[in-house]
């Protein structure tokens, strides 16, 4: 069974190829059905693989399937090989799982779009690339997927490419990602020149055995982190993610919440031994960047009015949490939070998508409200997602976030503090969103005239294809926490499962104060969450206090605009300068030479007066000069 792992990426790929060939003939909805089926099928395969892996003893849960030798040159030999181990399977599981759910959802969401087949074509291609990313046996195969998902996200963000904003957002995403890719490439070069291989096994093995100098390890780790920042939208490269909301909502859910954006976290976890072998400050850097990003994004989310933008910033902030975890050596926690986050954030996005769908593509929360009446199921599931992310026990988010905070506390209290504040804000703005969208009085009737264009303007519940995923995900968001319960050693289930991958690098906090008083911290977390919710309720539901939504937060601290100002202003000018330098100086020199020759020619031909006497004179001058030379030679 393990050897059939190649089926996992192969199936979505097949789906992609089929739709490329017959997409137009299939049309709606069969293209979607096909794509969904393919993803689901590969989910089944993964599941089977997973169970087989379970049946093996822990130390044997590592299996490499070599498909063919990809780039063999001299000492460098890269195989196109897949790695089956707990981590990759975990990733593959929720990618295919959530993936197929979102496919299903998309069938309904994309209904009536004239490029319906193309959408699923891209979606399948994305799933394939994502699977290559996580299943890759070496950095290069991962990089193949890495770039693949980047390209797909580019296609999907600018799916409605006739909208200039969409086109721009797509380009922005790709280019920003490329900055990260640069880091990852350099990391690969370093790894190769240091270890002589690109396979995870080789590199990690070298790192564990101390075959990797600390400085090298730091270099690799930092470069990988640069790459991760690009993909996982951390400061300073997070810019593209909010804009990516231009894409269709299923895309936002799948790519920009559940899977792709987490690949940075995955990569660092994969290379955990290297980070471990690096100077300690490497980890601090990662943790700090993560924490700062988390807080930064959370503050922004407080003031957003676009239903999807809120979720986007919250995603950034949650990703920040995961990097905080990585930096604190809490790899398991990171993966844990990644998974739970995948559940509830996908749920929230899909929910928002359902709302948008029902509201006829209205995304402004100020024009919503009281929707739980017209969209009961959507509303119910959304609320579950809210509770999960807000960190209310016993929902999934609570456990994973708490795990991270625990490690953070043990590692660095300042960062813990930041995390706590972020948690508070998270609870606050999510509550705000829920209230604005589903409670309060409906603000959409009085906009009916503007929505007349949509024909029937009253919001309506979405079709079952969209609701089923919601329900399933809601369920997962409720129970997701069981993967890793802090109660006792045996309930650390995910930890045991991932042990073969991360045990070496995982920070050991069992002796720390935090571990011994984790219940205290848990309680504190609950208090924080409820405080946030309470405050939000007080502001938005009861209207006790006036909402504080300063413009600067709404403008995301003007960071984006500042960057665009630099790029569009100074950068553009600099580039123009280079271009004109080329045209005027470099080419100018060439043209100049030509001009000079021509001028010289004109000058010389002016001597050609046609007058015999002046010719005689020229000859005479020549004679005198030459004879002078000979005289000198002769006499001296």
């Amino acid at each position: 069974m393990l050897d059939l792992i190649w089926l996992v990426p192969a199936l979505p790929l097949a789906g992609f190829v089929l739709i490329v060939l017959f997409g137009r003939k299939l049309g709606e909805p069969f293209a979607g059905v096909l794509a969904t089926a393919m993803t689901a099928a590969s989910f089944v395969v993964v599941a089977l693989t997973y169970f087989e892996l379970l049946s093996l003893p822990a130390e044997e849960r590592h299996h490499v399937v070599e498909l063919f030798s990809w780039i063999p040159v001299g000492s460098l030999s890269v195989d196109l090989a897949l790695l089956v181990d707990p981590l990759s399977i975990t990733m593959a599981l929720f990618i295919t799982g959530i993936g197929s759910l979102i496919h299903l959802y998309a069938i309904g969401y994309m209904h009536g779009d004239d490029k319906f087949p193309k959408f699923f074509m891209y979606l399948n291609l994305f799933v394939f690339s994502m699977l290559m990313l996580v299943l890759g046996e070496n950095l290069l195969v991962t990089f193949l997927g890495w770039e693949g998902v980047g390209a797909c996200s580019y296609f999907l963000i600018s799916f409605w490419h006739t909208r200039d904003s969409a086109a721009t957002a797509g380009k922005k995403a790709f280019v920003t990602n490329r900055v990260g890719d640069w880091g990852m490439m350099v990391a690969m070069f370093l790894a190769f020149s240091a270890v002589g291989t690109l396979s995870y096994e080789g590199i990690n093995h070298a790192a564990e055995k101390g075959g990797l100098a600390a400085v090298t390890a730091t270099g690799i780790a930092m470069m990988l982190f640069v790459g991760a920042c690009g993909k996982s939208a951390q400061l300073p490269l997070y810019l593209w993610l909010p804009d990516a909301m231009e894409g269709p909502t299923p895309v936002s859910a799948l790519i920009h919440a559940a899977t792709m954006v987490t690949s940075g976290v995955f990569l660092l976890t994969r290379m955990a031994p290297v980070i471990h072998a690096a100077y300690p400050w490497a980890g601090d850097v990662i943790a700090t960047v993560g924490a700062v990003t988390a807080l930064f994004a959370a503050t922004i989310a407080v003031a957003q009015t676009d239903i999807k933008k809120v979720l986007a910033y919250s995603t950034v902030s949650q990703l920040g949490f995961m990097f905080l975890a990585i930096g604190s050596g809490a790899y398991v926690a990171a993966i844990f939070h990644m998974v739970t986050h995948a559940f509830f954030k996908a749920l929230l996005f899909l929910g928002s998508g359902s709302v948008i769908h029902g509201m006829h593509h209205e995304q402004d929360m100020r024009r919503m409200g009281a929707l739980r009446k017209v969209m009961p199921i959507t509303g119910f599931t959304f609320i579950i997602g809210w509770l999960a992310i807000a960190g209310v026990p016993p929902f999934a988010g609570f456990w994973s976030k708490d795990e991270i905070l625990l490690f953070a506390f043990a590692n660095n209290r300042a960062l813990y503090l930041v995390g706590v504040v972020t948690a508070l804000l998270t609870a606050y703005y999510m509550t705000r969103q829920v209230i604005m969208v589903f409670y309060g009085e409906a603000k959409w009737h009085d906009h009916s005239d503007e929505h007349g264009a949509h024909g029937d303007h009253t919001p309506h519940e979405s079709p079952w294809t969209m609701l089923t995923p919601l329900v399933v995900l809601a369920g997962l968001s409720v129970v997701g926490g069981v993967m890793q319960l802090p109660f006792s050693k045996n309930t650390h289930w995910l930890e045991h499962w991932l042990e073969p991958v991360v045990h070496h690098a995982e920070a050991d906090i069992h002796e720390s104060w935090a571990y011994n008083n984790k219940w205290l911290l848990l309680g504190l977390a609950v208090v924080i969450a409820s405080a946030g919710i309470a405050a939000s309720v007080a502001v938005y539901a009861k209207g006790r206090f006036k909402a504080v939504e300063p413009q600067i937060l709404a403008d995301a601290w003007r960071y984006d605009s500042a960057v665009s100002a630099v790029v569009g202003g100074v950068g553009h000018k600099a580039f123009d300068a280079v271009a004109s330098f080329d045209a005027n100086i470099v080419d100018g020199a060439v043209v100049g030479v030509g001009r000079e020759v021509r001028a010289a020619s004109g000058l010389l031909t002016r001597m050609q007066t046609g007058l015999v006497r002046s010719y005689a004179l020229i000859i005479g001058i020549g004679v005198v000069v030459m004879l002078a030379w000979f005289l000198v030679r002769g006499v001296l």
Binding site: T609, R613, S614, G620, V624, A628, L631, G634, V635
Partner: protein, 178 residues
């Protein structure tokens, strides 16, 4: 004695030469050319080249200059050329520089290398009273002996001259003037 001869002859030569380049009227120029030629002839004599002196007078003064005058008359270009006017400024100064420079260099070379001129030939037989035709004989031997080929070539040269004059002097049949 020789000194006197040299001085006089040199005066003739240079005077004539200057006349050629300064007289505005071509006829006068031609006549001063004759002066130079005679001067040269005299010098030939003082180098015991009597035969050449004779030829110099006959051919040059007798034939060539006459030819010049003849053409001048034929074409009626005997009106004076305005010497004082020089259309191309800087022509004369430069020309002067070139002329003087040339003189200077050559003279310098001659003076510097005068000791090069040592007798290396088979000897040059001078004309004496008892053997008046010695020089001519020697020339004849050389011309019809070693240099007979050159002598024959002169015939071709003259042939060219004849053909050329015929060609040039003939009136244009197809008067396609542009």
């Amino acid at each position: 004695m020789e000194l006197v001869v040299f001085v006089l002859a040199a005066a003739m030569v240079l005077g004539g030469a200057l006349g050629v380049i300064t007289r505005s009227n071509p006829v006068h120029a031609a006549l001063s050319l004759v002066l130079t030629l005679f001067g040269i002839a005299v010098m030939f004599v003082s180098h015991n080249a009597h035969f050449l002196a004779a030829v110099q007078v006959i051919v040059y003064a007798g034939a060539i200059v006459v030819l010049f005058l003849f053409v001048i008359m034929l074409l009626g270009v005997d009106r004076a050329e305005d010497i004082n006017l020089e259309p191309i400024s800087a022509q004369r100064p430069l020309a002067a520089v070139v002329g003087l420079g040339l003189m200077g260099i050559v003279i310098a070379a001659i003076v510097a290398a005068d000791d090069v001129l040592v007798s290396r030939g088979s000897g040059l037989s001078a004309t004496t009273v008892d053997k008046p035709d010695e020089n001519v004989r020697q020339l004849a031997r050389s011309i019809f002996g070693d240099n007979v080929f050159a002598f024959e070539l002169t015939s071709v040269l003259l042939l060219v001259a004849v053909v050329g004059t015929v060609l040039m002097a003939r009136r244009v049949k197809s008067g396609g003037t542009k």
